[in-house]
Symmetry: C2
Subunit: 637 residues, 2 copies
């Protein structure tokens, strides 16, 4: 008798923990192992980008991260060589104002503390990471059609082993992956150049003024990156060797003292000494991307298994989180009967493109970082007529790349391409009421994150962040921007009537059987089904919104999700209904923004009297859920 | 051999815990007892007002409070009788926009959870509340001049007892106080009317639309107050009897079922039922204020020992917190040698006036709350010509009182009168450079809280709340608004030179002896002394502020407390330097705001070249520290 699980997850780093946490919350049975005896004790990845912080907040985990008082990086300083040593050539916001971010900073906290936040949450949901265990074999043999994958696991000391069956197997093992190797999936190297990096966390004394900022420093003695940390620590990244060096060896190393001496030389004329070193490591790193993320849509991989790159842009953990969330909701929707199995193919197509963009960015960034720029003295010598002065004031290539990449590194630049779930003009669902950026009828682009907006919740007058109101519950999110109540009363009634129709997608996934009997009086997000959550936003002052009289019963069931668009926003200072305006929707007549369970826009539809709005939604969800394809009723959770 | 403590604290409710927490953090030896076997399990006070939340954040405790997901009250709804039962006559912000508050809402969380946050913090600082123990006797016999108070304590079951000596004794015992009784201090009743209240916490089902808002409801069947709570609970306050009733009896009671039936009658035409009742209690309450808060400035009292009132304005815990903080820093400054013993007399004079204001407010509010207003039907009958309509639209007395009291109830209305520590035109310290609201040279009024302002910290470019930058460390706070660097360079140098003078107040409290030897490289708030912390705010973009070149060494030692006043503020939209503008200071030439350790403004001084600024500060601190009075050097911590 083999134990059966919905999923076996190998590796309890960021990608494995995020996947496990999502699926555990949504009720799946999980076997989660890690080959380390305990979570990361020190060092490793530590940068949480603005978009990841949104995600953590959406999971209710942000406060626990912040309880550790992480460092926050708002600006990056650039230092270049001059005749005295180094000088600051400029600073730039790490998440500039042109990005509409709730948290316009990078949060720095050591990976072990972040892992523990997830592990605690997992334990609340009955999942214990089994340590130190490793995977010894697996095959998708389909012997049990419901649990097609056999996985063999063993204690790292070899004394114990077990064989289990699962619906899915996930490898979040890191750059060295047994699963990837067994599957014979190759790593493609975008940039053939490899580097050896030294990284040191510690508490320092220095007169270098930007020690609490993120800095990239080029000097005649080499290059260094400075990243502030929690507990008054600072991390230094120093490149020790590059495969372009004449004496290159990937096993090249350096002692902590050598790296400190190097840092002291680079930082001149400033001084630096160490009170203590918490962590020091040297590791070779190359850029690579896995050719496939899955072969059979049963055995998946994510995080560092699929993409490796230099640590400097602070993207590793963030990309891992987004890999995991992307896969989690898709597995959930397939297993819940909300979507056809083909949804799973979008995991690789969506996430691999992001990784490729990341590597392209990283290659450009890393090259600039590791290439020594000419010092001010050299520049002056070369130009003779004071053109050096001019050249210094121009932005160098490094700064240009950095600026252009802010949106990407903040996480807000993630843009999934058109496919079955990201509507476009060439989508299988067609209807005149689909709105689009190209037609200028909305600002919300399918495949990108929904713009944040601040509104007032009607029931308790709390001022809230609309994009955070529905937690990461695995449900689609329908935001009905309902314009002025007196203008849209009929349109809302018509929409609700159509959604109530037993043939509608909305009705198709309603709780049935024993689930339908459960008392949901106090259930704010999923009163009717686990498939979708609905928010309604009126362009009216809060005090004038009477939920019971203004909303049809179907929408009024989401009574905690009715909002007044009555909060002024500096980004649309002239708007009377700022949330409507930010979505690019008519402030009087509104519109409907459909958002995927992971927060990315799926489609945008006009809100009109008659059947049109519901028709357009029906066509989109018909494709998404596969109902239109099969023409039959799907299994219902 | 008796054990010796700096202070013995009786009672671990809000006032005792706040006092204990402050003093424990500042290094005092504390004996803290409570006669309950464990912290409050359910119910009791639960409203944290905006100003109290500022204070908790300043102590680093806000996040732990918020981790419990308390309810937040942004608005209060008023319901009055009409022919159908009740109807909403209006809503009002609980902390309206005219109040410049960071957290414009009331936080609702049950007292036990709040107590546990303090208890956890105390334990980190080595203080364990001893339970269930009680006080059995005490006397200020002066037998040991350093520890003049003898306190006798006993286990509540009488099996154990101990006698200790202390510098201070504090009673936070609640309305029934052994210490107050023993001292023979009388309670004066401002309003002779007493009431019996029923209070019920529970989870309800209702179609009453404002169940998640704070509501005051008058109906023909009685009056009720609704207050939302954490965990989907709601608290109802119902007045059961009043000493003005013909059959008044202070022991009058009612069962939970009676109160529920009463609530059902009051809420008609809406229905309400209970899923569960977490807590139900009936208690008589009268308004009272203790005639004295201390007799000898060794034995002090605070919180409910000194003032009792109705629960409706949610002021009890908040007033208790502020009593405790007010006393804590004064004991600290006297014991550290920073102030003459006479500072302790300002505890009673400052806090008793606030309690008197609270009772005056409460009496007015309670009277309106318990007096049934005429129903709409009655009004229509009386006026006959539809004047009832008109009358309804006018604000009734209750609403007027409420609105006028918002500033008071938010905690921002606390205004201490001029005295030795709150500068005024009649203060002993006189100098032409003292600025004042009356002269229009500042907006900051001594005895009131400093206005909040958002600035950018120079070292790490973090956008921060200036008023929160110095934690509640027991130190005076000197905010140097330094205007434009090129205009104030000389003024800053002159000020720093004067403060460095061995005869200055600043130098007088510098660490000496072994304390002076301690390595303070990583100490951000108190590099030179525990007496004062200093912030410098420039009207310049952050990137242009070089701390090492712009600031004299004495000020540069507070390198983590240098700020750029470069963040736009909607309250002063035209200002180029919003923080300067909010303080009412010249944006070019600045000024110095001195704030007491508890966050209340002490004095405001102009920033000028020459000796004037330092002279004015010297005179203020001369009075505050008693140095001018004694002409001698005071003991230094």
């Amino acid at each position: 008798m083999e134990d059966k699980y919905d999923i076996v997850i190998i590796g309890a780093g960021p990608v494995g923990l995020m996947l496990s946490t999502c699926l555990a919350r949504w009720g799946y049975r999980i076997k989660h192992i890690d080959n380390r005896p305990e979570p990361t004790p020190t060092g490793r990845a530590d940068g949480i980008q603005p978009r990841s912080l949104d995600l953590l907040r959406n999971m209710g985990l942000k406060r626990k991260i912040m309880a550790h008082d992480p460092a926050k990086v708002y600006e990056v300083a650039f230092w270049d060589p001059n005749s005295k040593g180094i000088h600051r050539t400029g600073t730039w916001a790490s998440c500039p104002k042109f990005i509409d971010a709730r948290y316009p900073f990078t949060t720095l906290l050591h990976q072990g503390l972040i892992e523990r936040v997830f592990i605690e949450d997992l334990e609340k949901h009955g999942v214990q990471v089994q340590r130190p265990w490793t995977i010894t074999g697996f095959k998708n043999d389909g012997k049990d059609p419901s649990y097609p994958v056999e996985v063999r696991l063993a204690h790292v000391d070899g004394t114990l082993c077990e064989t289990v069956r699962a619906k899915y197997l996930f490898s979040g093992e890191g750059a060295r992956s047994f699963v990837r190797d067994q599957l014979g999936i190759k790593i493609r190297h975008k940039d053939p150049i490899a580097h050896v990096w030294g990284v040191m966390d510690g508490v320092v004394r220095t007169d270098f003024p930007d020690i609490k900022m993120k800095c990239t420093i080029h000097s005649d003695a080499g290059s260094i990156m400075v990243i502030p940390r929690e507990n008054n620590m600072v991390r230094l990244y120093i490149q020790i060797a590059s495969s372009t060096d004449p004496d290159w060896h990937p096993r090249r190393t350096a002692t902590a003292e050598e790296v400190q001496r190097r840092a002291q030389a680079i930082l001149k004329p400033y001084s630096i000494t160490w009170d203590r070193v918490e962590w020091y490591s040297v590791y070779p790193i190359g850029q690579g991307i896995a050719e496939r993320y899955t072969l059979d849509e049963r055995i998946f991989m994510g995080g560092d298994v699929c993409h490796t790159h230099s640590p400097k842009a602070g993207q590793g953990m963030n990309t891992a989180f987004l890999d995991a969330v992307n896969l989690a909701w898709k597995i959930h929707h397939v297993e819940a009967g909300f979507a056809p199995r083909s949804l799973l193919s979008t995991y690789e197509s969506e996430r691999k493109l992001i990784a490729e963009n990341l590597l392209a960015f990283d290659a450009k960034y890393a090259k600039l970082f590791s290439s020594r720029l000419p010092s001010a003295g050299e520049v002056a010598d070369a130009s003779q007529q004071g053109q050096g002065q001019h050249q210094q004031q121009e932005e160098n290539e490094f700064v240009k790349t950095f600026k252009a990449s802010c949106e990407f590194t903040s996480g807000y630049g993630v843009a999934y391409q058109p496919n079955a779930i990201n509507w476009s003009a060439s989508h299988a669902a067609q209807h005149p009421l689909f709105l689009s950026v190209d037609k200028g009828t909305t600002t919300q682009r399918p495949g990108r994150i929904m713009t944040p907006a601040t509104v007032t919740r009607v029931v308790d007058a709390n001022v809230v962040h609309l994009e955070q109101e529905i937690p990461l519950n695995g449900s689609y999110r329908m935001y009905i921007f309902a314009g002025q109540p007196e203008r849209t009363r009929t349109a809302l009634r018509d929409l609700a009537a159509a959604l109530s129709n037993p043939k509608s997608f909305y009705h198709a996934f309603r709780y049935s059987g024993a689930l339908a009997q459960k008392d949901r009086y106090h259930e704010p997000h999923n009163p009717h089904s686990a498939f979708i959550s609905v928010c309604t936003v009126f362009h009216a002052p809060r005090a004038q919104i009477e939920i019971a009289t203004l909303l049809p019963d179907l929408l009024a069931a989401y009574k905690d999700h009715v909002y007044a668009d009555d909060v002024w926003d500096a980004r649309v200072p002239e708007a009377k209904a700022a949330a409507h305006a930010k979505m690019g929707l008519c402030e009087e007549r509104g519109g409907v923004v459909v958002v995927r369970p992971d927060g990315y826009v799926g489609c945008v539809v006009g809100l009109r009297e008659g059947g049109g709005t519901a028709e357009a939604l029906e066509r989109y969800f018909g494709v998404v859920t596969g109902r239109e394809v099969s023409k039959g009723e799907r299994a219902v959770l």
